[in-house]
Amino acid sequence: MKALIIGCGRVGSSVALQLQREGWDVVVVDENEDALSRLGEHWPGAFLVGHGIDTDLLREAGIEEADAVIAATDGDNTNIVIGEVAQKRFDVKCVVVRVLDPARAEFYAARGMRTVCPTKTAIDKMAETVRTCELPGARATA
């Protein structure tokens, strides 16, 4: 299976390494060539430098044969547009888009985009964790 990952920050690079270890053929794109160092010294996959909404670059990166596209740049709107282009122009079956803003994540999820919102995950997890704290004097709520 072939995955194209746009954005090689903390998230993008870790997803790339994980999928690669699981046997995926992974191509990574980032605007900054220094981002390659996040993939370690022996990155076996391809790495391209450029902007993720550049159609020529996406073609060069093999989007036409990609089974999955992961948009994980630091810009919500860039990720959303990459997601739309991957789905609608290139008909990629699995498109996963990181959107930090929960409201936009929800809007695009409702339109059929697979959005992942780390902010929402953190909010839910933190509130849940607070609820599990055993505090002296705290009254149990139903």
């Binding site: 909404i53 959303i80 739309e84 803003d101 409201a103 809007f107």
Partner: protein
Amino acid sequence: MYVVVAGGGKVGANVARSLLRLGHEVTLIEQRRDRFDRLEDEFEHQVQRGDATELFVLERAGLARPPDIVLALTGDDEDNMVICQLAKEKYGAPKVIARVNDPRNQAHFDLLGISPTVCATSSIMALVEHEVPEHDLIHLLELRKENLEIVEVQIDRDSPSAGKRVETLELPEGSRLISVMRNGQSEIAVGSTMLEAGDQVLAILEPGKEDELRRVLLRT
């Protein structure tokens, strides 16, 4: 009418100013603090600070009314695309106009059905071609929604259409001549209009019919 303008740079601020002068109700949205401070001196309560791709910012600007038209004029194409999608699909704004900063992104705007769009680079290139023609058929205007375009053709002495009346030309289906410019004077093209060498002819046609039109008028 009520207009929301996203982006308070040179383009957005001037558009907002012009609309206000015409008596329209306007809300301008600008994200950058330094720009916002300057705009606030002029626009007062009619400018709001925030990221126009955030729902609460749009709602504060009255997107839920909704506005009669939303103008996405920021310097970032991805932001402009998202602003238009939210305005149309979430809030039901009847009309949007988007600025395209990088002409290479035009295809993305088209893909997402965002229309009409305005791109300074493309407009300048069309004008360059009009002023210094390198091609015998010049694209003047694209009417995306109508799926039509307006082109200009220069008739030469050896053009097969020179010396012929418009009604005798076998113009391709889906095309029509609009006007003929001769010696600085323009006239609407009718059936009896005679084409002459040196004429600049405007034609309206469906995209893709250029070669057929060229064959009838110019045979090149």
